[in-house]
Each structure stands twice: as structure tokens, then as C-alpha cells.
């Protein structure tokens, strides 16, 4: 099997080099490379990853800061977007995690705005999608995980461990449930990050596969229709995944605020 796979790969390369037949490189779009020169990627190299993340910062700056610079009582378009986002996250946090979690608004809004902006920028043709990389999503999820754990212990001390001790369950069941709760607590950052990264990665890869099929004249109309439909779906996924990541952060934050079951 391994030999066959190796053979297939070589054949693929050969085909690519000779520019004939179907060429699938759905993962090439995720390659991290230096922006302005060739060479290896070091820790501080200005890569395409860096460029698209900083572009997200620029977009967020334009919408949130420049958009609201007039401080108009009757808002313009850009200011309306900023106010809408503010109201949306403000409501989400106070509804899900409670009013006392509102000091975390800038933190949660940072996560949401970064993810939604990076997702949407990633949908531009020829762009690079930061949030399709597990290095990024795992960092985000770990940041949330560490924040939640620290906030829980700082606010409640050892009482935070009550999160794992289901006091409403019968006593003999509690140790079992505690084990389950501890495991699920530590699984959280994994599912939190894989959900976001996996969704974005899969969508972009599938679009690329359809794009490769578009080079065959006979099925290109179907392939192009498929790309169009998937693109619409991906716009939805981009926003929904940012929403899901954020609301789960709020749910976890609620655990840190009110650990008792």
C-alpha cells in the first residue's frame, strides 16, 4: 500500500511537471512562506501568515476605530457595524455568562473579531486563511482554556474544583462523574480548536478540489456551480464558526464565574 501511494504521488508529480491531466493541490493554499523573499520560515519571518493576520488587524482598526471616529449620535454605516458588534457581544456575554463577566468583553471581542475577520479575509481569492491552521486555533483555544482556569481559581479558589463534583448526583456516582467532568474539561481546548480549524480547512480544501475539476471542460459548469454554492456555504461557515467559538468561550467563562452545578 505504501509503495502504491508513493507511486501515485510520483505519478502526480510527473503529471504536474508535464502539465497534463488532473492536478490536485488542495493544500498548497495553506503553505506558510516568506512574504517578500524565498527561503526558510523563521520565528520572526514576515510570512503570508503574518501579512493576513496584520491585515485583519487593519480591517478591525478601520471598522472599530475609524468607523466610530465621528462619535455620531446618529451613526453612519461603519459606526453602525461597530455598534452592532458591540451590542451583539455585550448581549451574548451578559446572556450566557452573566453580567459579572462583562469585564471580559474586550477579551472575547478580540477573539470574535479576529476569527470572523480572518475567516472572511480567507475567503478572498488567492488569500491565505490564518484560522485554517491548527497552530492558530490551538493557540486561541489554549488562551481561552488558560484564562478560564486562572479566572476560576482566582475568583473561587479551590471551590472552582466543585465544577467537577456534581453535588446533585447520588453520592456513589459522583467520583465517576468527576472523572468524566475532568476529562471533558481537558478535552475542551481540543474540540474548541479542531472544530474551528477543521471547518475552515475542509471548506477551503473542498473548494480547491472543485476548482481542479473545473479544468475539465466537460464537467466545468458543474464544478463552477459547485464552487459558487460552496463559497456561499463557506461565508456562512466563516461567520457561524466564529460565533460558535465565541459563544463556547462564554459558556466556559460561565463555568469559571459560577462553578457550582
Amino acid at each position: 500500500m505504501a509503495g502504491e501511494a508513493q507511486h501515485g504521488k510520483d505519478a502526480g508529480h510527473a503529471a504536474a511537471e508535464h502539465g497534463e491531466g488532473l492536478v490536485f493541490h488542495p493544500f498548497d493554499q495553506f503553505i506558510v512562506k516568506p512574504m517578500f523573499h524565498d527561503g526558510p520560515v523563521g520565528l520572526f519571518t514576515f510570512t503570508n501568515a503574518a501579512f493576513w493576520m496584520l491585515l485583519a488587524v487593519a480591517v478591525i482598526f478601520c471598522v472599530m476605530v475609524l468607523g466610530s471616529s465621528k462619535r455620531a449620535v446618529i451613526p453612519g454605516r461603519a459606526q453602525s457595524i461597530g455598534e452592532l458588534l458591540y451590542g451583539f457581544l455585550h448581549k451574548m456575554i451578559s446572556d450566557v455568562a452573566g453580567k459579572e463577566a462583562l469585564p471580559f468583553l474586550p477579551y472575547i471581542m478580540t477573539l470574535f473579531l479576529f476569527i470572523v475577520t480572518a475567516n472572511l479575509l480567507g475567503l478572498l481569492p488567492l488569500s491565505y486563511t490564518s484560522t485554517s491552521h491548527f497552530a492558530v486555533t490551538v493557540t486561541l483555544a489554549l488562551a481561552v482554556f488558560i484564562t478560564i482556569t486562572v479566572v476560576g481559581f482566582v475568583k473561587h479558589g479551590t471551590k472552582f474544583l466543585g465544577l467537577f463534583w456534581v453535588s446533585s448526583a447520588p453520592l456513589p456516582l459522583r467520583p465517576v462523574l468527576a472523572a468524566v467532568e475532568v476529562i471533558s474539561y481537558f478535552i475542551r481546548p481540543v474540540s474548541h480548536s479542531i472544530r474551528l480549524g477543521g471547518n475552515i480547512l475542509a471548506g477551503h480544501a473542498v473548494i480547491k478540489v472543485f476548482a481542479a475539476f473545473a479544468s475539465i471542460t466537460l464537467i466545468s459548469p458543474v464544478a463552477i456551480l459547485g464552487i459558487t454554492a460552496l463559497y456561499g456555504l463557506e461565508v456562512l461557515v466563516a461567520v457561524v464558526q466564529a460565533y460558535v467559538f465565541t459563544i463556547l468561550t462564554c459558556v466556559y467563562l460561565k463555568d469559571a464565574m459560577h462553578p457550582s452545578h
Binding site: 508529480h13 526558510p40 503574518a50 485583519a56 449620535v73 474586550p106 491552521h133 493557540t139
Partner: protein, 181 residues
């Protein structure tokens, strides 16, 4: 052999520049992404917490204040309009009462005058009636007298014609008796 040279140059990328395996799992790129991600998140956090969110919060608060002020101003105006309406209603009611009073007074005056005139007219009529009755009774009295005289003459003429002697006193008594009937 050039292949191996190229492959050794760049991690996770094959000869033709395509991804070698999943780029997501290329450990050589993790550090770079995490570094720029942290830089990005810190930048966004400061943009939001230092500039954008306080500004938007103040704009929203200001708007809320403006709306509250406008609503209270509208309430004030509404209250004043209600006051004005009440004053108008009161003035209208007063005017109506006054009009009714004037009408009543006029009606009373007219009634008084009418009563006086009626009384005067009644008096006149009564006087006239009395006068007339007096005249009528005088006429009736003289007529009765005449009737007696004529009756007496007629009686004495009839008696004479029948060949009797005329006894004036008897005739007078008989005629008077008959006329009184």
C-alpha cells in the same frame, strides 16, 4: 538529485513547490504563526480596549441620554399641551355657563315684562268687560222696562178691545208678575 537539494532547502514543501503532507501539521511553521498570532491578538485587544470599546460605549450612553432627554422633553410638551387643552375646555365651559346665565337672565326679564304686560292687558280687559257689562245691564234694564210698558199698553188695549174696564193697577201687577215669570 536536484530534488533532494530543493527538499532540504524548504520544510514541508516538495520539489514542485506544493505542500508535502498537511501544511497544518508542519511543525517548522508553528512558531512563526503563533508569534504573529500573539502580536495580532495583543494589537486587536489594545485597539478594542483602549480606543474602540470606550468610544462606542460612550456614544451608546450619550445616545441613550439623548433619547431619555428627548422623551422627557416630549413628555413635558405633552403635559403642557394637556394643560392648554384643559384651560381651553375650562374657558369653553365658563363661556357656556355665562351664555346660559345671560340667556336665563334675558328669559327671566322677558318673562317678567311679559307677565307685567299680560297683567296690564288683563286689567284693561277686565275694566273694559266691566264697562261693557254695565252698559249691557243698563240696556237690559231699559229693555225690560220698555217690555213692561209695552206689555201694559198692549194688555190695556186688549182689555179695552174685549170691552172690559181698564184697571191700571191690576194690569200693572199682572204684567209685572208675568214679566218676572
Amino acid at each position: 538529485m536536484a530534488d533532494t537539494h530543493n527538499e532540504s532547502l524548504l520544510a514541508c514543501v516538495d520539489v514542485s513547490g506544493s505542500a508535502d503532507g498537511m501544511p497544518q501539521l508542519c511543525a517548522d511553521w508553528f512558531g512563526n504563526q503563533v508569534f504573529w498570532l500573539i502580536l495580532t491578538l495583543v494589537a486587536i485587544f489594545f485597539i478594542l480596549s483602549r480606543i474602540a470599546l470606550p468610544r462606542i460605549a460612550s456614544v451608546l450612553a450619550e445616545r441613550q441620554g439623548t433619547i431619555t432627554n428627548d422623551i422627557s422633553a416630549a413628555d413635558e410638551l405633552k403635559r403642557r399641551a394637556a394643560d392648554a387643552e384643559a384651560a381651553y375646555e375650562k374657558a369653553l365651559a365658563d363661556a357656556r355657563t355665562e351664555a346660559q346665565a345671560i340667556a336665563q337672565k334675558t328669559r327671566d326679564e322677558i318673562a317678567t315684562e311679559l307677565a307685567a304686560a299680560t297683567a296690564k292687558a288683563d286689567e284693561d280687559i277686565a275694566a273694559k268687560t266691566a264697562e261693557s257689562e254695565k252698559a249691557i245691564s243698563e240696556i237690559r234694564a231699559s229693555a225690560l222696562e220698555n217690555v213692561e210698558v209695552v206689555a201694559k199698553d198692549t194688555a190695556s188695549a186688549i182689555v179695552t178691545a174685549l170691552g172690559g174696564t181698564v184697571d191700571d193697577a191690576a194690569i200693572a201687577a199682572a204684567v209685572s208678575n208675568q214679566v218676572k215669570g
